[in-house]
């Protein structure tokens, strides 16, 4: 399955319709490109998707609220991107290794991140939270696109170990302009490494529209590297699941890398420090609100009789429990002691850092001595 680039010179990066299996109004569609990976999805699976996507949205709402209340230094809202984040992560095996960007809260949730893991780095208590080996997820990456190379290197390691895991690189439309992402595709293609590139095209890189990064659909670039690609509706959890299953099967089966462009939309600001009213219209945001990933999945589940008040109440209770724990973790966080800033710079002793520790420690001890003397 290979994406065919358009030759229409008029076009812009939104010209081609992405593959869609669930319309914005919640109607199930068929598409021969993905049916084989979607037909066996049962209602329990879809309910699981809905549950995690709802949790992702509540976590996002809580993150923004905690920032506004001064409990977090920053938050990168992911509202609107729940389908691709949750669906792609749920399609992975537990031993696949994922390399998220800083906005992939939904990915972390699916992989089992604890409530505190979602807030302590945004609060500024720690540089990263969970143990990557526990979740098989790298620390969320802030340098745009840098993690794509890590994913490819990890995939090269999988090949050397003779394993059948897959590495997954998450990034956005802005990242596709970075050299690292292009180098990652070259390495992955040359070594036929088991990596899936998941580009969440949310249309905005802070204030720059995707058309600044790409005049043609981003998925169209991958075939030029020799990487099969697909452009999917990133707000359609069923298409995202199916596309990811296709991609993972391809990569796991020795077919080499795959590229997914998930066409979605960042409903909120880039971060809580951003003001999107300066660069985009509310009409545009409203158009995307009508394509919300959660409402369409709910509509399908209701039509199938798989969504009732009890389910809703259960999902809400789970989400409330999680976000309450997030809030508690943020508010109750105790900052590490001053000397700890010198910890873990190196794995082995370093005489320069040891000397710095001695100096800083003596300086800090001076305050203790002062307090002692004042008594």
């Amino acid at each position: 399955m290979t994406y065919t680039p358009t030759t229409d010179t008029e076009h812009r990066s939104d010209l081609d319709e992405p593959v869609q299996l669930l319309t914005p109004s919640g109607e199930r569609r068929r598409d021969p490109r993905l049916d084989d990976w979607a037909d066996d999805l049962d209602l329990d699976t879809l309910r699981g998707l809905y549950r995690d996507m709802t949790l992702a949205r509540r976590v996002d709402t809580e993150g923004v609220a905690l920032q506004r209340q001064g409990q977090l230094g920053l938050w990168a809202p992911a509202q609107g991107q729940e389908a691709i984040q949750v669906a792609s992560a749920r399609a992975c095996r537990a031993d696949d290794f994922l390399f998220p960007s800083y906005r992939e809260h939904g990915v972390l949730l699916v992989r089992g991140a604890a409530p505190a893991d979602l807030v302590l780095s945004w609060r500024g208590e720690v540089a990263s939270t969970y143990d990557p080996a526990d979740l098989n997820v790298a620390p969320p990456q802030i340098i745009i696109g840098a993690q794509t190379l890590h994913a490819v290197g990890y995939a090269m390691g999988i090949q050397r170990d003779g394993a059948d895991q897959v590495a997954v690189a998450y990034f956005g439309d802005g990242a596709t302009s970075q050299g690292d992402v292009n180098e990652a595709m070259v390495f992955a293609a040359s070594f036929s490494s088991p990596v899936v590139f998941v580009c969440s095209n949310n249309h905005w890189a802070i204030s720059e529209p995707v058309t600044v990064q790409a005049t043609h659909p981003i998925a169209g670039r991958a075939p030029g590297f020799g990487i099969p690609s697909m452009r999917v509706d990133g707000n359609d959890a069923i298409a995202c699941t199916a596309a990811m299953r296709w991609a993972l099967d391809h990569a796991r089966g020795g077919g080499g890398p795959v590229f997914l462009e998930a066409v979605t939309y960042r409903m909120g600001p880039h971060t809580t420090s951003d003001d999107p009213t300066r660069y985009r219209s509310s009409d545009e945001v409203d158009r995307w609100r009508a394509r919300d990933p959660l409402t369409r999945l709910e509509a399908l589940l209701r039509a199938e009789g798989a969504f009732d008040d009890a389910f809703r109440a259960d999902v809400d209770a789970d989400a409330l429990s999680f976000t309450t724990q997030m809030r508690t973790a943020a508010i109750d966080a105790v900052s590490a002691p001053p000397l700890s800033v010198l910890d873990h710079v190196y794995a082995e002793p370093h005489s320069g850092l040891d000397e710095e520790r001695r100096r800083f420690s003596a300086y800090l001890d001076g305050f203790a001595a002062d307090e002692e003397g004042a008594r």
Binding site: D131, P132, L149, H150, G179, D180, H344, H350
Partner: protein
């Protein structure tokens, strides 16, 4: 089977580095080497000559020509539990990898509070004096010394090249490993059987010539120039103590300050430019720690603060024996020294 050499041998630094790599790969199957032209060709300096035949393409990886890609994929391999040894083809080609080295390789251990180790060795054929084209003679070490989380070493002889490369690969920390191109063909005795645990730790400096009048601090190929200067100075009755730093991060201040407290005078020389260079930090720290022992202001003999000049002019840039001796004269306030130029 691999052909790990044993016993004592007279080897060029290039061969010693190759032997060190071969030994490290034989000792630990998670060690792999990657870079441009390092496979069939054996690297443009032939350091990896023969490794592809011995260890195969899964451990000797000819990469695409993308330095950020090489280091970035090494990060992923390290996450997977490998110990990648990266070859950057020339010093001036490391800059595209700068972000991966500074933001990722150097910080992942800190970022994860010790959960993720980055045992990556980044080998860089380094510095000038070989009549090379532009971007092939750079001394970028200060950028890396300035970056917390990296260890930085520079070798000056075949034995250190062999031993310290193996120590760097065995280290759980990332090491930027500078190899003076000018010395690739210089020979020296190498004990191939030495255990790396028995050798001097990578972070220690070495007094390569004892003296009493002036401490001369340097590293890399400049150690040889400093030794020549010491020999020449001796003819004039001046005794130089020459210290090969070996490690630029950390710096072995214990060895350095012991020497300075004895001599009271310091000259630092390196090829890299002066401004905010390694010598500046060395002198600041020595001054802090030995101020009352100093008999004269410490001096620097460095490359000029210029882009590396064309090959035919590099001799005017590289701090040679005469410029070092001039600084020695000045730090000793000897009458034959050039007058201090006042701005």
């Amino acid at each position: 089977m691999t052909s790990v050499a044993t016993g004592k041998a007279s080897l060029t630094m290039g061969k010693a580095l190759g032997a060190g790599l071969r030994r490290a790969m034989a000792d630990d199957e998670r060690v792999l080497v990657m870079g441009e032209d390092i496979g069939k060709l054996g690297g443009v300096f032939r350091i990896t000559d023969g490794l592809l035949d011995e260890f195969g393409p899964s451990r000797v990886i000819d990469t695409p020509l993308a330095e950020s890609g090489i280091v970035g994929t090494a990060v992923g391999l390290a996450l997977r539990g490998f110990r990648p040894v990266v070859e950057i083809q020339f010093d001036g080609f490391v800059y595209p990898a700068f972000d991966q080295i500074v933001c990722q390789v150097a910080k992942l251990h800190y970022r994860t509070r010790g959960r993720v180790k980055m045992p990556i060795t980044i080998r860089i054929p380094w510095a000038g004096g070989v009549g090379a084209a532009e971007h092939h003679s750079e001394s970028p070490e200060a950028y890396f010394v300035h970056t917390a989380g990296l260890r930085v070493v520079a070798v000056s002889n075949p034995q250190d090249a062999y031993t310290m490369l193996r120590q760097a690969i065995a280290s759980d920390d990332p090491v930027v490993f500078f190899e003076p191109k000018r010395l690739y063909h210089a020979k020296g005795d190498v004990d191939l059987d030495a255990h790396i645990a028995d050798a001097a730790p990578m972070g220690l400096a070495r007094v390569v010539r004892e003296g009493t009048d002036v401490t001369l601090l340097t590293y890399g190929a400049q150690v040889g120039t400093a030794m020549d200067a010491a020999t020449a100075a001796e003819d004039e009755g001046v005794s130089l103590e020459v210290i090969d730093l070996r490690s630029l991060s950390p710096v072995d201040y214990r060895t350095i300050t012991a020497s300075v407290r004895k001599t009271g005078r310091v000259v630092v020389t390196h090829e890299a430019a002066r401004e905010a260079g390694v010598a500046a930090e060395l002198i600041a720290s020595v001054t802090e720690q030995c101020f009352h022992y100093l008999e004269a202001p410490p001096l620097r003999v460095t490359g000029h603060d210029i882009p590396y000049p064309p090959a035919k002019l590099e001799k005017h840039h590289l701090p040679d024996l005469d410029r070092i001796l001039d600084a020695v004269d000045r730090v000793l306030e000897r009458p034959n020294s050039f007058p201090e130029v006042t701005p």
